[in-house]
Amino acid sequence: MSIDIDTARKVAKLARIRVEEADLPALATELSGILGFMEQLNEVDVEGIEPMTSVTPMRLKRRADVVTDGDIQAQILKNAPDAREGFFAVPKVVE
């Protein structure tokens, strides 16, 4: 399956990665090459085979539904590029 420039633009948008218009053709070619490689999977008969969800059969552990930590606001904000008054700060969001 070949990826055209419009699809490459859409994928970049969905991935929230800015790609300049001039770079889209090269991106489309690269993605097409990789997806072409994946086409081999169509040769495999997967009839009746369930998609793997867990490589080791295991039951997830359960625990009491109680708070186990908290009160670490300063630590959580410590690495933020922009933190103000105890919050993460982001550009104004107006719809």
Binding site: R18, E30, F37, Q40, L41, V44, S54, K61, D82
Partner: protein, 493 residues
């Protein structure tokens, strides 16, 4: 005379307990070797003050008696592990300046056992690469050199491999999503084991592909791998996929006796165009195990050829989801915004500036295969093929095979920059013998077995049954003893 930084973990442990050396002396020897090894670009954040504090504490503990095996052993830590207060960037500009407020479970366990952290090690960005060439810190360089070229130490754990092979540390942590411990170990003449999925906690390890990632030790010998793995694994409530199983004494399992064990040789791993030197190495390794009394059995793993394409659907899909967290809000890099830029522009510019080319490519491939209309055709199909790959192994083990022997890599280490213009698929082929093991969640170990005509190290891979790291390590120990690989890179750096 052997310098202290050249010791194995086992030899250093014994010397420490006998009072013949101290953790401080061991650590000083490593710190000196690290400073002399800047040309290899293996250590990217050095922590000498932390190291000496830890070494002094270890010496006190050893003096008091009853110190664990890893007490006083100086280690390098891959940059993918979160280490409290110490830069942990996954070799990415998007995590520039990030200093975690917490410690990963693996490093917590190692440090609780008394191990000493020398610093953080170079790697491919977010562990995506097979040559350490996608790192924001620049290439790590293989201490092995046979002509004018600088060679890759492999990837993604390239800094770990270079540091251990160049005796800058006694051992290092690595992580392996598609071969990132085993391929660099093979390229540098050291031992690297990827445990069974779930054996080692992933908590605090920067996530690449969560259903495939496992941490493991990279060491100078199989015995060291057994000792260090024992300290790294165990059940962890903070990782829901961590297995609640007892950890065996892996070192005690190294009996050297594999008489009557069945070793599978998978015919599908005999690839077209396989170099003669790899073919010969494989045959030599097979003969060594046979001479040790094992029974050699031809086996079939029919879905092998579909492992790479399945991996390159599943791993990017999981990566695109895991890496969504790098948005410029909570940690790491945020782009400078232009007038009128809103939150979407902030995300898009931050991720374009912060992620390198290979990471962007994989995030976009992952986004595509998970997008509406393609999820079934790519992602679900790949997961069904993955189930078949695992079934191949299940059937072989059910038929009585104890371990499987394969080459670790399709070639010896290649030159840095030599793959720059190659198709990305060419680079992905480095993982052809190792990805099956991640897809099936099995333990796999790379053991140095020989050298090519130019003198570069070559490794073989042994694959074990789920949770049978003990048996796997014993097979690897027999192979190591028979191969007698003792070559070291001549110091040029």
């Amino acid at each position: 005379m052997t310098h202290l930084n050249e010791l194995t973990i086992a030899a250093a442990r014994d010397a420490l307990r006998a009072g013949e050396t101290t953790a401080v002396d061991l650590t000083m020897a490593c710190l000196t070797a690290i400073d002399a090894g800047d040309g290899l670009n293996a250590f990217v954040h050095k922590t000498p003050d932390i190291a000496l504090d830890m070494a002094r504490a270890a010496d006190a503990r050893i003096k008091a008696g009853d110190a664990p095996d890893m007490c006083g052993i100086p280690l390098g830590i891959k940059d993918l592990f979160c280490t409290k207060g110490v830069p942990s960037q996954a070799a990415s500009n998007i995590l520039k300046g990030f200093k975690p407020e917490y410690e990963s479970t693996v490093t917590t366990q190692l440090f609780n056992a008394g191990a000493v952290m020398l610093g953080k090690l170079n790697m491919d960005e977010f562990a995506m690469g097979s040559s350490n060439e996608t790192s924001c810190y620049g290439n790590a360089i293989n201490p092995w050199k046979v002509d004018g070229r600088d060679l890759t130490p492999g990837g993604s754990s390239g800094g770990s491999a270079a540091a251990v092979a160049a005796d800058m540390c006694l051992a290092a942590t690595g992580t392996d999503t598609g071969g990132s411990i085993r391929q660099p170990a093979a390229f540098t003449g050291i031992v690297g084991i990827k445990p069974t999925y779930g054996r080692v906690s992933r908590w605090g390890v920067v996530a690449f592909a969560s259903s495939l990632d496992q941490a493991g030790p990279m060491t100078k010998s199989v015995r060291d791998a057994a000792i260090m793995l024992g300290a790294m694994c165990g059940h962890d409530l903070k990782d829901s996929t961590s297995a609640d199983l007892a950890v065996p004494d892996f070192e005690a399992a190294l009996t050297g006796d594999i008489r009557g064990k069945k070793i599978g040789i998978p015919r599908e791993y005999r690839m077209d165009g396989m170099p003669a030197e790899i073919e010969k190495l494989w045959a030599d390794g097979t003969a060594m195990l046979k001479d040790a009394g094992a029974e050699i059995v031809d086996i079939a793993l029919p879905h092998t050829k579909y492992a790479l394409p399945a991996y390159y659907v599943i791993a990017p899909a999981e990566a695109s989801s895991n890496l969504a967290r790098y948005d410029g809000v909570r940690y790491g890099h945020r782009a400078n915004l232009k007038a009128g830029d809103g939150i979407t522009e902030m995300y898009e510019r931050t991720r374009a500036e912060g992620f390198g080319h290979e990471v962007q490519r994989r995030v976009m491939v992952g986004t595509y295969v998970l997008s509406a209309g393609f999820y079934d055709a790519y992602y679900n199909r790949a997961r069904r093929v993955r189930a078949l790959i695992k079934r191949d192994f299940d059937q072989v083990f059910a038929a009585g095979i104890d371990a499987i022997l394969t080459p670790a890599t399709p070639s010896a280490a290649f030159g840095l920059g030599e793959m720059a213009n190659a198709d990305p698929i060419q680079m992905y082929l480095n993982d052809v013998f190792t990805v099956t093991v991640n897809l099936a969640g099995l333990p796999g170990i790379s053991v140095p077995v020989g050298q090519n005509a130019q003198g570069l190290p070559l490794g073989l891979q042994l694959i074990g049954k789920p949770w049978d790291e003990a048996g796997l390590l014993n097979h690897a120990y027999v192979l190591e003893q028979a191969a007698g690989f003792v070559a070291k890179p001549a110091k040029w750096w």
